[in-house]
Protein backbone atom coordinates (compact mmCIF):
# COMPACT_ATOMS: atom_id res chain seq x y z
CA UNK A 1 0.00 0.00 0.00
CA UNK A 2 2.84 2.37 0.65
CA UNK A 3 4.36 2.29 -2.86
CA UNK A 4 7.79 1.76 -1.40
CA UNK A 5 7.51 4.96 0.57
CA UNK A 6 8.53 4.35 4.17
CA UNK A 7 6.17 5.63 6.84
CA UNK A 8 7.59 3.78 9.81
CA UNK A 9 10.99 2.41 10.71
CA UNK A 10 11.39 -1.35 11.05
CA UNK A 11 10.79 -2.73 14.52
CA UNK A 12 13.69 -5.05 15.10
CA UNK A 13 14.54 -5.00 18.77
CA UNK A 14 12.93 -6.09 21.99
CA UNK A 15 12.15 -2.53 22.98
CA UNK A 16 11.07 -1.14 19.60
CA UNK A 17 7.48 -2.23 20.10
CA UNK A 18 7.05 -0.56 23.44
CA UNK A 19 8.66 2.68 22.29
CA UNK A 20 6.36 2.72 19.28
CA UNK A 21 3.40 2.07 21.52
CA UNK A 22 4.14 5.27 23.40
CA UNK A 23 4.82 7.11 20.18
CA UNK A 24 1.54 6.10 18.58
CA UNK A 25 -0.41 6.84 21.74
CA UNK A 26 1.07 10.29 21.81
CA UNK A 27 0.33 10.65 18.12
CA UNK A 28 -3.29 9.76 18.73
CA UNK A 29 -3.46 12.27 21.56
CA UNK A 30 -1.91 14.95 19.37
CA UNK A 31 -4.28 14.21 16.53
CA UNK A 32 -7.31 14.24 18.81
CA UNK A 33 -6.36 17.47 20.51
CA UNK A 34 -5.37 19.03 17.18
CA UNK A 35 -8.66 18.11 15.58
CA UNK A 36 -10.57 19.31 18.60
CA UNK A 37 -8.82 22.68 18.70
CA UNK A 38 -8.96 23.14 14.96
CA UNK A 39 -12.69 22.40 14.84
CA UNK A 40 -13.28 24.70 17.75
CA UNK A 41 -11.46 27.59 16.13
CA UNK A 42 -13.02 26.99 12.73
CA UNK A 43 -16.43 26.69 14.33
CA UNK A 44 -15.99 30.00 16.16
CA UNK A 45 -14.53 31.62 13.07
CA UNK A 46 -17.59 30.74 11.09
CA UNK A 47 -20.20 31.25 13.74
CA UNK A 48 -18.87 34.57 14.95
CA UNK A 49 -17.65 36.01 11.66
CA UNK A 50 -18.50 39.67 11.38
CA UNK A 51 -22.04 40.16 10.18
CA UNK A 52 -23.31 36.79 11.30
CA UNK A 53 -26.41 36.76 13.42
CA UNK A 54 -24.91 34.77 16.25
CA UNK A 55 -25.84 35.61 19.79
CA UNK A 56 -23.03 37.63 21.38
CA UNK A 57 -24.38 39.18 24.52
CA UNK A 58 -23.37 38.58 28.06
CA UNK A 59 -20.37 36.98 29.71
CA UNK A 60 -17.10 38.50 30.55
CA UNK A 61 -14.05 37.12 28.86
CA UNK A 62 -12.74 35.01 31.66
CA UNK A 63 -13.64 31.95 33.60
CA UNK A 64 -11.78 30.63 36.56
CA UNK A 65 -13.31 27.15 36.42
CA UNK A 66 -12.22 26.77 32.80
CA UNK A 67 -8.68 27.95 33.56
CA UNK A 68 -8.37 25.51 36.41
CA UNK A 69 -9.89 22.71 34.41
CA UNK A 70 -7.56 22.88 31.47
CA UNK A 71 -4.52 23.52 33.59
CA UNK A 72 -5.18 20.48 35.72
CA UNK A 73 -6.11 18.36 32.74
CA UNK A 74 -2.93 19.30 30.89
CA UNK A 75 -0.86 18.60 33.98
CA UNK A 76 -2.36 15.18 34.46
CA UNK A 77 -1.89 14.23 30.83
CA UNK A 78 1.65 15.57 30.91
CA UNK A 79 2.48 13.50 33.97
CA UNK A 80 1.17 10.36 32.39
CA UNK A 81 3.28 10.85 29.29
CA UNK A 82 6.27 11.74 31.41
CA UNK A 83 5.94 8.68 33.60
CA UNK A 84 5.51 6.37 30.65
CA UNK A 85 8.51 7.78 28.80
CA UNK A 86 10.67 7.73 31.90
CA UNK A 87 9.78 4.15 32.77
CA UNK A 88 10.82 2.98 29.32
CA UNK A 89 13.94 5.12 29.46
CA UNK A 90 15.15 3.75 32.76
CA UNK A 91 15.32 0.28 31.25
CA UNK A 92 18.46 1.52 29.57
CA UNK A 93 20.05 1.40 33.00
CA UNK A 94 19.38 -2.26 33.58
CA UNK A 95 20.48 -4.56 30.81
CA UNK A 96 19.53 -8.21 31.27
CA UNK A 97 22.23 -10.42 32.73
CA UNK A 98 24.50 -12.52 30.63
CA UNK A 99 25.18 -10.10 27.86
CA UNK A 100 27.56 -10.17 24.97
CA UNK A 101 29.81 -7.16 25.28
CA UNK A 102 31.18 -5.55 22.18
CA UNK A 103 33.56 -2.60 22.24
CA UNK A 104 32.64 0.22 19.88
CA UNK A 105 35.06 3.00 19.12
CA UNK A 106 34.02 6.11 17.22
CA UNK A 107 36.58 8.11 15.33
CA UNK A 108 36.36 10.62 12.53
CA UNK A 109 34.65 9.09 10.50
CA UNK A 110 34.09 5.45 11.18
CA UNK A 111 32.84 3.01 13.75
CA UNK A 112 35.23 0.30 14.79
CA UNK A 113 33.90 -2.70 16.70
CA UNK A 114 35.73 -5.47 18.53
CA UNK A 115 33.94 -8.62 19.49
CA UNK A 116 34.90 -10.41 22.70
CA UNK A 117 36.75 -12.97 20.62
CA UNK A 118 38.90 -10.24 19.13
CA UNK A 119 37.16 -10.10 15.76
CA UNK A 120 37.34 -6.60 14.43
CA UNK A 121 35.01 -4.88 11.97
CA UNK A 122 34.57 -1.40 10.62
CA UNK A 123 31.22 0.26 9.90
CA UNK A 124 29.62 -3.16 10.15
CA UNK A 125 28.32 -4.80 13.25
CA UNK A 126 27.23 -8.41 13.41
CA UNK A 127 25.08 -9.41 16.34
CA UNK A 128 23.16 -12.54 17.27
CA UNK A 129 19.40 -12.38 17.45
CA UNK A 130 17.80 -12.96 20.83
CA UNK A 131 20.85 -12.21 22.91
CA UNK A 132 21.53 -9.07 24.90
CA UNK A 133 24.28 -7.09 23.29
CA UNK A 134 25.99 -4.32 25.20
CA UNK A 135 28.06 -1.96 23.12
CA UNK A 136 30.50 -0.06 25.27
CA UNK A 137 31.27 3.15 23.46
CA UNK A 138 34.34 5.32 23.45
CA UNK A 139 35.54 8.05 21.18
CA UNK A 140 38.97 8.80 19.91
CA UNK A 141 38.34 12.43 19.02
CA UNK A 142 35.00 14.27 19.06
CA UNK A 143 31.54 13.26 20.21
CA UNK A 144 29.82 10.71 18.01
CA UNK A 145 26.53 8.97 18.51
CA UNK A 146 25.66 5.33 17.95
CA UNK A 147 22.22 5.18 16.37
CA UNK A 148 20.29 2.21 15.06
CA UNK A 149 16.79 3.40 14.17
CA UNK A 150 15.41 -0.11 13.81
CA UNK A 151 16.38 -0.82 17.42
CA UNK A 152 15.22 2.60 18.77
CA UNK A 153 18.54 3.05 20.50
CA UNK A 154 20.98 5.90 20.52
CA UNK A 155 23.92 6.82 22.70
CA UNK A 156 26.65 9.40 22.40
CA UNK A 157 30.26 8.29 22.45
CA UNK A 158 32.08 10.96 24.42
CA UNK A 159 35.85 11.38 24.47
CA UNK A 160 37.23 10.79 27.92
CA UNK A 161 34.57 8.44 29.19
CA UNK A 162 32.90 5.14 28.44
CA UNK A 163 29.19 4.96 27.74
CA UNK A 164 26.97 1.99 27.05
CA UNK A 165 24.00 1.04 25.00
CA UNK A 166 22.27 -2.29 24.97
CA UNK A 167 19.68 -4.01 22.82
CA UNK A 168 18.28 -7.38 21.95
CA UNK A 169 17.75 -7.75 18.24
CA UNK A 170 14.72 -9.90 17.63
CA UNK A 171 14.39 -9.93 13.88
CA UNK A 172 17.22 -11.08 11.59
CA UNK A 173 18.09 -8.52 8.95
CA UNK A 174 20.32 -5.68 7.93
CA UNK A 175 19.65 -2.31 9.55
CA UNK A 176 21.10 1.13 9.20
CA UNK A 177 23.78 2.20 11.61
CA UNK A 178 24.23 5.96 11.77
CA UNK A 179 26.37 8.46 13.57
CA UNK A 180 23.77 10.85 14.89
CA UNK A 181 25.96 13.46 16.52
CA UNK A 182 27.47 15.95 14.13
CA UNK A 183 31.19 15.21 14.09
CA UNK A 184 32.72 17.09 11.19
CA UNK A 185 33.22 16.75 7.47
CA UNK A 186 32.06 13.22 6.76
CA UNK A 187 29.50 12.93 9.52
CA UNK A 188 26.89 11.70 7.08
CA UNK A 189 29.14 8.92 5.83
CA UNK A 190 30.00 7.67 9.29
CA UNK A 191 27.92 4.56 9.57
CA UNK A 192 27.00 1.38 7.86
CA UNK A 193 25.01 -1.64 8.75
CA UNK A 194 24.06 -3.72 11.71
CA UNK A 195 23.46 -7.33 10.71
CA UNK A 196 21.31 -9.30 13.07
CA UNK A 197 21.68 -13.03 12.48
CA UNK A 198 20.49 -16.22 14.17
CA UNK A 199 22.93 -17.29 16.90
CA UNK A 200 24.22 -20.25 14.86
CA UNK A 201 25.00 -18.00 11.93
CA UNK A 202 26.61 -15.51 14.25
CA UNK A 203 28.83 -18.23 15.68
CA UNK A 204 29.72 -19.35 12.19
CA UNK A 205 30.43 -15.78 11.17
CA UNK A 206 32.71 -15.29 14.15
CA UNK A 207 34.51 -18.46 13.21
CA UNK A 208 35.14 -17.19 9.72
CA UNK A 209 36.70 -13.99 10.88
CA UNK A 210 40.44 -13.67 11.09
CA UNK A 211 41.82 -15.55 14.04
CA UNK A 212 42.68 -12.44 16.03
CA UNK A 213 43.31 -12.63 19.71
CA UNK A 214 40.49 -11.86 22.05
CA UNK A 215 40.15 -8.32 23.26
CA UNK A 216 41.12 -9.41 26.74
CA UNK A 217 44.16 -11.26 25.44
CA UNK A 218 45.27 -8.15 23.59
CA UNK A 219 44.73 -6.30 26.81
CA UNK A 220 46.91 -8.74 28.68
CA UNK A 221 49.71 -8.25 26.18
CA UNK A 222 49.42 -4.51 26.65
CA UNK A 223 49.38 -4.99 30.39
CA UNK A 224 52.82 -6.48 30.09
CA UNK A 225 54.09 -4.24 27.34
CA UNK A 226 53.20 -1.09 29.25
CA UNK A 227 54.82 -2.33 32.41
CA UNK A 228 51.65 -2.57 34.47
CA UNK A 229 52.54 -6.11 35.41
CA UNK A 230 55.86 -4.89 36.75
CA UNK A 231 54.07 -3.36 39.68
CA UNK A 232 50.80 -5.22 39.86
CA UNK A 233 52.23 -8.76 39.71
CA UNK A 234 52.42 -10.53 43.04
CA UNK A 235 56.16 -10.98 42.77
CA UNK A 236 56.74 -7.29 42.20
CA UNK A 237 58.85 -5.24 44.52
CA UNK A 238 56.57 -2.25 44.28
CA UNK A 239 53.63 -2.52 46.60
CA UNK A 240 50.66 -2.19 44.27
CA UNK A 241 47.16 -3.62 44.60
CA UNK A 242 46.42 -7.05 43.21
CA UNK A 243 44.05 -6.50 40.34
CA UNK A 244 42.44 -9.95 40.33
CA UNK A 245 38.72 -9.60 40.78
CA UNK A 246 38.95 -5.83 40.92
CA UNK A 247 36.05 -5.08 38.59
CA UNK A 248 32.76 -4.56 40.38
CA UNK A 249 34.39 -4.73 43.80
CA UNK A 250 34.18 -1.92 46.36
CA UNK A 251 37.55 -0.26 46.84
CA UNK A 252 38.52 1.61 49.97
CA UNK A 253 40.25 4.86 49.16
CA UNK A 254 42.88 6.81 50.98
CA UNK A 255 40.40 9.61 51.73
CA UNK A 256 38.10 7.32 53.74
CA UNK A 257 35.63 6.92 50.91
CA UNK A 258 34.67 3.76 49.15
CA UNK A 259 33.93 3.47 45.47
CA UNK A 260 32.84 0.58 43.35
CA UNK A 261 35.47 -0.24 40.76
CA UNK A 262 33.37 0.35 37.66
CA UNK A 263 34.66 1.26 34.23
CA UNK A 264 34.93 4.88 35.15
CA UNK A 265 37.06 4.02 38.15
CA UNK A 266 39.37 1.76 36.18
CA UNK A 267 39.73 4.30 33.42
CA UNK A 268 40.54 7.04 35.89
CA UNK A 269 42.95 4.78 37.74
CA UNK A 270 44.93 4.38 34.56
CA UNK A 271 44.72 7.93 33.23
CA UNK A 272 44.59 9.89 36.48
CA UNK A 273 45.97 7.59 39.17
CA UNK A 274 46.38 10.48 41.58
CA UNK A 275 42.70 11.19 41.65
CA UNK A 276 41.60 8.27 43.75
CA UNK A 277 44.31 6.50 45.71
CA UNK A 278 43.59 3.04 47.03
CA UNK A 279 43.90 2.96 50.80
CA UNK A 280 47.21 1.71 52.10
CA UNK A 281 49.23 2.29 48.94
CA UNK A 282 51.65 4.99 47.95
CA UNK A 283 50.58 7.16 45.05
CA UNK A 284 53.45 6.02 42.85
CA UNK A 285 51.55 4.82 39.83
CA UNK A 286 52.35 7.00 36.81
CA UNK A 287 49.61 8.39 34.62
CA UNK A 288 49.16 6.68 31.27
CA UNK A 289 47.33 9.63 29.81
CA UNK A 290 48.57 10.19 26.28
CA UNK A 291 50.26 6.80 26.25
CA UNK A 292 47.16 4.64 26.07
CA UNK A 293 44.76 5.57 23.29
CA UNK A 294 41.05 4.82 23.35
CA UNK A 295 41.37 1.53 21.49
CA UNK A 296 44.05 0.31 23.87
CA UNK A 297 42.02 1.49 26.80
CA UNK A 298 39.21 -0.75 25.67
CA UNK A 299 41.60 -3.69 25.54
CA UNK A 300 42.97 -2.98 29.01
CA UNK A 301 39.49 -2.66 30.41
CA UNK A 302 38.48 -5.93 28.78
CA UNK A 303 41.49 -7.61 30.34
CA UNK A 304 40.90 -6.15 33.80
CA UNK A 305 37.27 -7.19 33.60
CA UNK A 306 38.23 -10.68 32.54
CA UNK A 307 40.04 -10.97 35.86
CA UNK A 308 36.70 -10.97 37.65
CA UNK A 309 34.69 -13.45 35.65
CA UNK A 310 31.45 -13.17 37.53
CA UNK A 311 31.23 -9.42 37.54
CA UNK A 312 32.08 -9.02 33.88
CA UNK A 313 28.62 -10.08 32.86
CA UNK A 314 26.77 -8.18 35.53
CA UNK A 315 27.55 -5.02 33.74
CA UNK A 316 26.24 -1.68 34.80
CA UNK A 317 25.38 -0.08 31.51
CA UNK A 318 25.81 3.67 31.31
CA UNK A 319 27.09 5.33 34.41
Amino acid sequence: MSFGIPFTPPEASSIAGSVDMLFYTLLAFTAALGIFLASLVVFYAIKYRAGSKAERTGERARSLPLEVAWTVASLLIAFVIFGWGAALFLRREHPPLDALEIAGLGKQWMWEFRHPGGQREINELHVPVGKTVIVSLASQDVIHSFFVPAFRVKQDAVPGRTTHVWFIADEPGRYHLFCAQYCGTQHSEMGGWVTAMPPEDYAAWLGNQGKGDTLAADGEKLFRALGCSGCHEKSSKVRAPDLAGIFGRPVALENQQTVVADERYLRDSILEPKKEIAAGYDPVMPSFDGIVDEGEMQMLLAYLKSLSPRAATRNEATQ
Binding site: E272, K274, K275, P283, S287, D289
Partner: protein, 212 residues
Protein backbone atom coordinates in the same frame (compact mmCIF):
# COMPACT_ATOMS: atom_id res chain seq x y z
CA UNK B 1 10.66 71.17 32.26
CA UNK B 2 12.94 68.57 30.81
CA UNK B 3 16.14 70.50 31.21
CA UNK B 4 17.27 68.77 34.37
CA UNK B 5 17.02 65.29 32.92
CA UNK B 6 19.47 63.71 30.54
CA UNK B 7 17.06 61.64 28.54
CA UNK B 8 13.86 62.70 26.81
CA UNK B 9 12.12 59.78 28.36
CA UNK B 10 11.90 61.19 31.84
CA UNK B 11 10.00 64.04 33.41
CA UNK B 12 11.83 64.27 36.67
CA UNK B 13 15.36 63.97 37.85
CA UNK B 14 14.43 61.58 40.65
CA UNK B 15 12.76 59.11 38.35
CA UNK B 16 15.67 59.21 35.99
CA UNK B 17 18.12 58.53 38.78
CA UNK B 18 16.09 55.60 40.03
CA UNK B 19 15.99 54.22 36.50
CA UNK B 20 19.73 54.66 36.06
CA UNK B 21 20.51 52.90 39.28
CA UNK B 22 18.17 50.07 38.50
CA UNK B 23 19.58 49.74 35.00
CA UNK B 24 23.06 49.49 36.41
CA UNK B 25 21.98 46.78 38.82
CA UNK B 26 20.35 44.77 36.09
CA UNK B 27 23.56 45.05 34.12
CA UNK B 28 25.51 43.88 37.15
CA UNK B 29 23.19 40.93 37.50
CA UNK B 30 23.92 40.07 33.93
CA UNK B 31 27.66 40.33 34.48
CA UNK B 32 27.35 38.18 37.56
CA UNK B 33 25.88 35.44 35.39
CA UNK B 34 28.91 35.71 33.10
CA UNK B 35 31.40 35.24 35.90
CA UNK B 36 29.12 32.72 37.58
CA UNK B 37 29.21 30.47 34.55
CA UNK B 38 32.98 30.45 34.47
CA UNK B 39 33.18 29.90 38.20
CA UNK B 40 30.94 26.91 37.70
CA UNK B 41 33.42 25.44 35.24
CA UNK B 42 36.11 25.99 37.82
CA UNK B 43 34.08 24.49 40.62
CA UNK B 44 33.39 21.31 38.73
CA UNK B 45 37.03 20.90 37.78
CA UNK B 46 38.02 21.63 41.35
CA UNK B 47 35.73 18.90 42.62
CA UNK B 48 37.18 16.35 40.22
CA UNK B 49 40.84 17.23 40.52
CA UNK B 50 41.10 18.60 44.03
CA UNK B 51 44.65 17.54 44.79
CA UNK B 52 46.07 18.69 41.49
CA UNK B 53 44.36 22.03 41.90
CA UNK B 54 45.66 22.44 45.42
CA UNK B 55 49.18 21.71 44.29
CA UNK B 56 48.91 24.10 41.37
CA UNK B 57 47.40 26.82 43.51
CA UNK B 58 50.50 26.73 45.72
CA UNK B 59 52.50 27.98 42.80
CA UNK B 60 50.62 31.27 42.60
CA UNK B 61 52.16 34.11 44.50
CA UNK B 62 50.17 34.57 47.68
CA UNK B 63 51.90 37.83 48.68
CA UNK B 64 51.18 39.44 45.33
CA UNK B 65 47.63 38.13 45.33
CA UNK B 66 46.99 39.47 48.81
CA UNK B 67 48.57 42.77 47.93
CA UNK B 68 46.34 43.04 44.90
CA UNK B 69 43.23 42.29 46.90
CA UNK B 70 44.15 45.05 49.30
CA UNK B 71 44.84 47.41 46.40
CA UNK B 72 41.47 46.71 44.89
CA UNK B 73 39.64 47.09 48.18
CA UNK B 74 41.37 50.41 48.65
CA UNK B 75 40.38 51.51 45.18
CA UNK B 76 36.79 50.69 46.01
CA UNK B 77 37.10 52.80 49.11
CA UNK B 78 38.44 55.67 47.03
CA UNK B 79 35.55 55.21 44.65
CA UNK B 80 32.95 55.42 47.35
CA UNK B 81 34.65 58.55 48.65
CA UNK B 82 34.41 60.05 45.19
CA UNK B 83 30.75 59.26 45.22
CA UNK B 84 30.25 60.82 48.63
CA UNK B 85 32.09 63.96 47.60
CA UNK B 86 30.13 64.41 44.39
CA UNK B 87 26.92 63.92 46.31
CA UNK B 88 27.89 66.84 48.54
CA UNK B 89 29.18 68.80 45.53
CA UNK B 90 32.77 68.91 46.71
CA UNK B 91 34.21 68.63 43.24
CA UNK B 92 37.89 68.97 43.94
CA UNK B 93 38.23 66.09 46.42
CA UNK B 94 35.92 64.10 44.21
CA UNK B 95 38.30 64.42 41.30
CA UNK B 96 41.22 63.42 43.47
CA UNK B 97 39.36 60.40 44.73
CA UNK B 98 38.60 59.39 41.17
CA UNK B 99 42.21 59.78 40.18
CA UNK B 100 43.19 57.60 43.12
CA UNK B 101 40.68 55.00 42.14
CA UNK B 102 41.95 54.70 38.62
CA UNK B 103 45.58 54.79 39.70
CA UNK B 104 44.94 51.97 42.12
CA UNK B 105 43.26 50.13 39.28
CA UNK B 106 46.41 50.59 37.25
CA UNK B 107 48.55 49.39 40.14
CA UNK B 108 46.42 46.27 40.30
CA UNK B 109 46.89 45.66 36.60
CA UNK B 110 50.60 46.22 36.94
CA UNK B 111 50.95 43.71 39.77
CA UNK B 112 48.86 41.28 37.80
CA UNK B 113 51.18 41.73 34.84
CA UNK B 114 54.16 41.02 37.09
CA UNK B 115 52.48 37.84 38.25
CA UNK B 116 51.74 36.79 34.70
CA UNK B 117 55.35 37.46 33.77
CA UNK B 118 56.56 35.30 36.62
CA UNK B 119 54.23 32.50 35.65
CA UNK B 120 55.38 32.62 32.06
CA UNK B 121 59.00 32.45 33.18
CA UNK B 122 58.33 29.50 35.42
CA UNK B 123 56.56 27.70 32.62
CA UNK B 124 53.21 27.83 34.31
CA UNK B 125 51.29 29.48 31.53
CA UNK B 126 49.62 27.05 29.12
CA UNK B 127 48.86 29.94 26.83
CA UNK B 128 49.74 30.66 23.22
CA UNK B 129 51.71 27.45 23.02
CA UNK B 130 54.15 28.58 25.73
CA UNK B 131 55.98 25.58 27.20
CA UNK B 132 54.30 24.20 30.28
CA UNK B 133 56.46 22.50 32.86
CA UNK B 134 54.99 21.62 36.18
CA UNK B 135 56.77 19.30 38.54
CA UNK B 136 53.91 18.37 40.80
CA UNK B 137 52.17 15.04 41.08
CA UNK B 138 49.60 15.61 38.36
CA UNK B 139 50.81 18.00 35.69
CA UNK B 140 47.87 17.46 33.33
CA UNK B 141 45.35 18.82 35.74
CA UNK B 142 47.69 21.41 37.07
CA UNK B 143 47.78 22.67 33.51
CA UNK B 144 44.02 22.70 33.58
CA UNK B 145 44.13 24.78 36.72
CA UNK B 146 46.38 27.33 35.10
CA UNK B 147 44.20 27.41 32.01
CA UNK B 148 41.26 28.36 34.18
CA UNK B 149 43.36 30.75 36.21
CA UNK B 150 44.40 32.65 33.11
CA UNK B 151 40.90 32.64 31.67
CA UNK B 152 39.32 33.96 34.84
CA UNK B 153 41.90 36.54 35.82
CA UNK B 154 42.27 37.89 32.31
CA UNK B 155 38.52 38.32 32.00
CA UNK B 156 38.54 40.15 35.30
CA UNK B 157 41.48 42.28 34.22
CA UNK B 158 39.63 43.14 31.04
CA UNK B 159 36.76 44.46 33.10
CA UNK B 160 39.14 46.49 35.17
CA UNK B 161 40.75 47.95 32.08
CA UNK B 162 37.33 49.03 30.89
CA UNK B 163 36.68 50.61 34.28
CA UNK B 164 39.95 52.54 34.23
CA UNK B 165 39.28 53.68 30.68
CA UNK B 166 35.82 54.92 31.57
CA UNK B 167 37.05 56.82 34.62
CA UNK B 168 39.84 58.35 32.57
CA UNK B 169 37.37 59.37 29.90
CA UNK B 170 35.08 60.87 32.49
CA UNK B 171 37.92 62.86 34.02
CA UNK B 172 38.96 64.17 30.62
CA UNK B 173 35.44 65.38 29.92
CA UNK B 174 34.97 66.58 33.49
CA UNK B 175 35.32 70.35 33.01
CA UNK B 176 32.71 70.48 30.27
CA UNK B 177 29.99 68.53 32.04
CA UNK B 178 27.07 69.73 34.07
CA UNK B 179 26.99 69.07 37.76
CA UNK B 180 23.93 66.90 37.46
CA UNK B 181 25.55 64.64 34.90
CA UNK B 182 28.65 64.29 37.08
CA UNK B 183 26.85 62.80 40.07
CA UNK B 184 25.01 60.69 37.64
CA UNK B 185 28.10 59.24 36.06
CA UNK B 186 30.13 58.82 39.21
CA UNK B 187 27.26 56.86 40.63
CA UNK B 188 27.04 54.55 37.59
CA UNK B 189 30.75 53.92 37.21
CA UNK B 190 30.98 53.47 40.97
CA UNK B 191 28.50 50.62 40.91
CA UNK B 192 30.44 48.98 38.13
CA UNK B 193 33.76 49.41 39.89
CA UNK B 194 32.51 47.93 43.13
CA UNK B 195 31.10 45.01 41.24
CA UNK B 196 34.42 44.28 39.58
CA UNK B 197 35.91 44.44 43.06
CA UNK B 198 33.40 41.90 44.35
CA UNK B 199 34.31 39.55 41.52
CA UNK B 200 37.92 39.70 42.65
CA UNK B 201 36.89 39.17 46.24
CA UNK B 202 35.61 35.79 45.12
CA UNK B 203 38.37 34.98 42.65
CA UNK B 204 41.09 35.55 45.21
CA UNK B 205 40.23 32.80 47.71
CA UNK B 206 39.02 30.48 45.00
CA UNK B 207 42.27 30.64 43.07
CA UNK B 208 44.96 31.51 45.59
CA UNK B 209 43.83 29.96 48.81
CA UNK B 210 43.28 26.28 48.09
CA UNK B 211 44.71 24.55 51.18
CA UNK B 212 47.87 26.46 51.71
Amino acid sequence: MRSSTESVAFDTKAREKAADTFGMWVFIGSEAMLFGAILLVFLIARISYGTAFAAASQRLSLPLGTLNTAVLLTSSFAMVLAHTFTASRRWRPAVWALICTSLLGIVFLFVKAVEYGREFKEGLAPVLGAPFSFTGPDPTHAEFFFALYFAMTSLHALHLICGVAVIAGMLLLWPGTTEASRTHRVQAIGLYWHFVDIVWVFLFPVLYLINR
